[in-house]
């Protein structure tokens, strides 16, 4: 009798909801699509960087360190391929997000430096590039939010009963999510210091 019920339960599970197999596939594809969008927007930002560097160079070529930092960070980002397979490899995902984080830091350092050059700030080309950069950063934020949501749906789908059984059978793992690189650091409020940095001593 029990065998009969087991068989009946399995058959009904398979026929009515495919034991969640289709749902897992749908969510998986959604995650891949959101990830492609994230990669797309990051690429858009990377494409803006050469123009930005050139326009800053026109007014502030002495800021060699910062400009070099941005160029190197962009080269590093360009060398990392971010295919959907990255989602199944936590180490590769970590490498990708780290490289993008470094580009973000390099860019914010560059922007801080440009505050010292009023001529640069009023240059039309630079202003346009800044607008494009802000727009791209906004798009990156939106794409990341949608990716996080799709990963949440997928992970919840493969962890709740009864679909977790199907996931185990077919070997579906959690997909990685964006983490903040250094949580402790950002939980400390930044110190705001209005004193201008003293001018470097002229070399004799």
């Amino acid at each position: 009798m029990r065998k009969f019920f087991t068989v009946l339960a399995t058959l009904s599970c398979l026929s009515l909801t495919n034991c969640g197999y289709n749902a897992i596939q749908t969510n998986d594809e959604q995650v891949k699509a959101s990830w492609s969008e994230v990669v797309n927007q990051y690429q858009r930002r990377a494409d803006l960087v050469p123009n930005l560097v050139n326009s800053v160079k026109g007014f502030a070529q002495q800021e060699k360190d910062v400009l070099l930092g941005v160029t190197n960070a962009r080269a590093k980002v360009g060398s990392i391929q971010a295919t959907p397979e990255v989602l199944n490899d936590p180490a590769a995902f970590q490498k990708f997000t780290q490289a993008q984080g470094e580009l973000s830091s390099a860019l914010s350092r560059l922007l801080v430096v440009t505050e010292n050059y009023p001529q640069l700030k009023s240059d039309a080309l630079f202003k346009d590039l800044m607008t494009q950069l802000e727009g791209t950063e906004n798009r990156i934020t939106v794409a990341r939010n949608r990716y996080i949501k799709s990963v949440q749906d997928y992970n919840v789908g493969i962890r709740t009963f009864p679909n977790n059984l199907t996931a185990m059978v077919f070997g579906y793992k959690d997909k990685p999510n964006f983490t903040v690189a250094n949580e402790k650091e950002i939980s400390v409020a930044p110190k705001v210091d209005f004193n201008p940095t003293p001018a470097p001593a002229p070399s004799k």
Partner: protein
């Protein structure tokens, strides 16, 4: 002891209320121009609404304007995106919607552009519209003029962009439901006539053809018309096997309620009820302040 219990209860209740206070609710889409601050006069709003309605009739794209007093600490980019995702301005799959959001007391504004218009209204262009057309007027207190100038420029950009043709306005009036029993009743009536005149098989096919022509004539969708026609002819064929007394009374009975539930008109061409077309947004556009 009692004070402690009360304190715990208050803390728990606050725990419920506070998260809801965190983000302000997205305003209802009551029209093409939603002004929660009373800045624009009703004449301004009517003029603006007419301009935007004309754009939709002419190009199919939708622009909406929202003026809120404040976003209550939330970044205007995030707020605009929430509004855009809730209102879904612009046509589905074409995504040709644009939203102008003004947070009056914060003195910030944003133009949020849908995926389909990001080529016409780029980030740089949005920033130029904000800096050149809108904020100078805002600074001198002319909000109606600023919004009007900005909207005019956006309309000009959309006019120059190649987009899919809009649906003819009066067809938008009917929200056609394929599983609507109205055509079923119609098939019953016509099939009776045709079957008597032409015999069972040809009568059924003729019924299907008549229904298809009618659907195509009323709603303009050839695929839907053919599909409905095939279904109607199958129904007419099957109906013939039913006892004749039952089919005539059921035909009379279903006419009453199917006629009522048939049309759910959602007219989008007049100012009566404006609704988003299902467009989606990706975070494009630009923000500014004055």
């Amino acid at each position: 002891m009692k004070a402690a219990v009360r304190a715990v209860l208050v803390a728990l209740l606050l725990g419920w209320i506070l998260p809801a206070l965190a983000l302000i609710t997205v305003p209802q889409l009551t029209g093409r121009v939603v002004d929660q601050t009373g800045t624009l006069s009703s004449g301004d709003i009517a003029q603006l609404t007419q301009k935007l309605a004309d754009l939709q009739t002419r190009k199919g794209s939708q622009i909406a304007v929202l003026i809120v007093p404040t976003t209550d600490g939330e970044a205007i980019e995030q707020f605009s995106l929430r509004v855009a995702e809730a209102w879904k301005i612009g046509r589905k799959k074409v995504d040709d919607g644009a939203l102008l959001v003004v947070a009056k007391n914060d003195r910030r504004l944003r133009i949020e552009v849908g995926y389909g218009l990001e080529g016409a209204i780029t980030d740089v262009t949005s920033k130029r519209i904000i800096d050149e057309d809108i904020t100078p007027k805002f600074k001198s207190g002319d909000f109606a003029g600023g919004i009007s100038a900005g909207v005019n420029r956006m309309i000009g950009l959309i006019n120059g962009e190649k987009l899919p043709e809009p649906e003819p306005p009066h067809w938008d009036g009917f929200n056609f439901d394929v599983f609507n029993p109205f055509w079923l009743f119609f098939a019953f009536v016509i099939s009776g006539v045709f079957r008597h005149a032409l015999g069972r098989l040809i009568g059924s096919i003729a019924t299907g053809g008549a229904v298809a022509v009618l659907v195509w004539f009323l709603f303009g969708g050839l695929a839907a018309a053919l599909g409905i026609g095939v279904l109607a002819s199958i129904v007419a064929f099957i109906v013939d096997f039913l006892p004749t007394a039952g089919s005539s009374t059921s035909g009379g009975g279903s006419s009453g309620n199917s006629g009522g539930s048939g049309w759910s008109s959602s007219s989008s061409s007049d100012s009566g009820s404006f609704s988003g077309g299902g467009g989606s947004f990706g975070g494009g556009g630009a923000s500014g302040s004055w």
